[in-house]
């Protein structure tokens, strides 16, 4: 961080336009500057994040296979098409809260929020950066899973919006929650321990028919199953039928994540 700050102060590449600090032009300039600032900070941990994501996504896809005495084609299809979701969920709900928690403990936000940049631009920059960082690991996890289970998936163009929306939901909700929970160690503890349970009870790598009705009703409201469904629809034909409620639920969670972020950022301390 210290290496970036002097550049900003000494009129380096991170300089903001002079004059009135408002308007769309100024906001976009701020977003550009914040993206470079965040990217500079991310250099130290971004490769690690992609690596963890590959391990988590691909690793979990392989791991689920170990729980079955016999892997049938249906089991393999569900695990493989659930893999991208498996790669996105830990990133949004474990890794990002971890990073936010560390930033909080180190006092990074006190510095960032004091910059003469709209906080909305700061938040958007964070979301854009994390969402982009999600993508390589997700794609690689899918490649590993198809190789492991020897499947041929039919990739359709609707996979692109599906992955983008899902990644953005994971990032936004994870970031908003991490900002909301005051004690980072508690946020970390909850995230770490419950993520596996959440993944167990969500029909991501197995068909919803295995669940009791009431549990499936809960999963339809939570983001995880819906992420899996929209992504699965982009990888298979005929398995997923009605995507509208899935997308609507995901957009609802997106709004919730942004609301939480806005609420924390808008507060005065």
């Amino acid at each position: 961080m210290t290496s970036t700050v002097p550049g900003a102060v000494a009129g380096g590449r991170l300089r903001l336009p002079a004059g009135r600090r408002s308007g769309a032009g100024y906001w976009l300039a701020c977003l550009r500057v914040m993206l470079r600032f965040d990217l500079g900070r991310a250099r130290s941990w971004a490769p690690m994040m992609v690596l963890i994501q590959i391990l988590m996504g691909a690793g979990m896809a392989v791991m689920y296979g170990f729980f079955y005495p016999r892997i049938t084609p249906a089991v393999a299809l569900y695990i493989s098409t659930g893999t991208p979701t498996l790669a996105l969920v830990p990133l949004g709900f474990v890794l990002i809260p971890g990073i936010v928690g560390q930033d909080k403990t180190e006092g990074t936000y006190d510095f960032v929020w004091s910059l003469p940049v709209p906080r909305s631009a700061q938040a958007v920059s964070t979301f854009v950066l994390y969402t982009l960082l999600c993508l390589p690991g997700t794609v690689l996890a899918l490649v590993v899973a198809t190789w492991r289970y020897g499947l041929h998936l039919t990739v359709s163009p609707q996979l692109i919006p599906a992955v983008l929306v899902s990644a953005l939901v994971a990032v936004s909700v994870g970031f908003g929650m991490a900002l909301m929970i005051p004690d980072p160690s508690i946020a970390n503890l909850i995230a770490n321990t419950l993520i596996f349970v959440v993944l167990l009870f969500s029909p991501i790598v197995f068909p919803p028919a295995n669940l009791p009705g009431w549990l499936f009703a809960v999963d339809r409201v939570l983001p995880f199953y819906n992420m899996a469904e929209v992504i699965r629809a982009g990888l298979t034909t005929g398995l997923v039928t009605d995507l509208v409620p899935c997308y609507l639920t995901l957009l609802g969670w997106l709004a919730a994540g942004w609301l939480m972020t806005t609420w924390v950022l808008g507060r005065r301390r």
Partner: protein, 262 residues
């Protein structure tokens, strides 16, 4: 010190068995007081996670095979036992390093072995309620009748000891808190999915079985399972030896990390 008459005051001289016992007891109270919120939250989460696995594994199947249920139900207590010492212990030390309270804790005038012993006791105590609840839930959900033998006592004590000491060593030996967090996250991940704790070793590929033969975690499951069931596991003596050897390694690592000056 004497002038303050604090309930946590230690007497002089600082040596001998009495000082050790007093330090040990004082540190247990110190941990329990300092971590009371943390530990109660942890106990709750452990119970929830254990219940989650026991009920959740059935969802993987239309009709869960009896062996799959038995392995999960006898594996969850193992995870409960090592979770505190191996996973959350190092994260706690990492957080102390970030906050700056680490140096203070290390400067306390207590023997290192008493500090380690107290931490082991706290970790064991924090894990046991979840173990009990997990076993009761397993019995209720799948109707499994466990045949508990006296060997469960050394199995539980040794499993918790090795887990705690490895975590203790890791937490103190790794300077960067972010690395600690990363390693513990990889560990928790591996323990859930790449170690034959929650499922039979036969479901893993051969090379992974080989690797696990050298690591302690699969053997922890063997010795705990031997205390809960009959006829399910073999080679228990070798497993005890391997888990104990890793425990000794954890002690050595902790001793090295805490003996350093810096």
């Amino acid at each position: 010190m004497a002038g303050y008459a604090s309930p946590l005051a230690l007497p002089l001289p600082r040596g001998g068995a009495a000082h050790w016992v007093r330090s040990y007891w004082t540190l247990i109270r110190w941990h329990l007081a300092g971590l009371r919120m943390w530990l109660s939250l942890l106990a709750t989460i452990q119970v929830l996670a254990g219940a989650g696995f026991i009920f959740g594994i059935a969802l993987f199947f239309r009709h869960i095979p009896a062996t799959a249920a038995l392995f999960v139900c006898t594996g969850v207590p193992v995870i409960n036992l090592v979770m505190v010492g191996l996973i959350l212990g190092p994260q706690l030390v990492a957080e102390q390093k970030l906050k700056g309270s680490y140096e203070f804790t290390r400067s306390l005038p207590v023997p290192k072995t008493a500090a380690a012993g107290a931490w082991y006791t706290v970790c064991l105590l924090a894990g046991l309620p979840a173990v009990a609840v997990s076993l009761l839930l397993a019995e209720a959900r799948y109707g499994i009748a466990f045949t508990v033998s006296p060997s469960i006592v050394p199995a539980v004590a040794l499993t918790a000891f090795t887990g705690t000491m490895l975590g203790y060593g890791l937490g103190h030996a790794i300077p960067n808190p972010m690395t600690t967090r990363l390693i513990t996250q990889l560990l928790i991940f591996a323990i859930f999915g790449y170690v034959p704790i929650l499922f039979p070793a036969a479901q893993l590929p051969g090379w992974l079985v080989e690797v696990n033969g050298w690591l302690p975690f699969g053997h922890m499951a063997v010795i705990v399972r031997a205390g809960l069931t009959t006829g399910l596991v073999t080679g228990v003596a070798a497993s005890y030896a391997i888990v104990a050897a890793w425990g000794a390694l954890g002690v050595a690592l902790s001793g090295w990390a805490l003996g350093r000056r810096g």
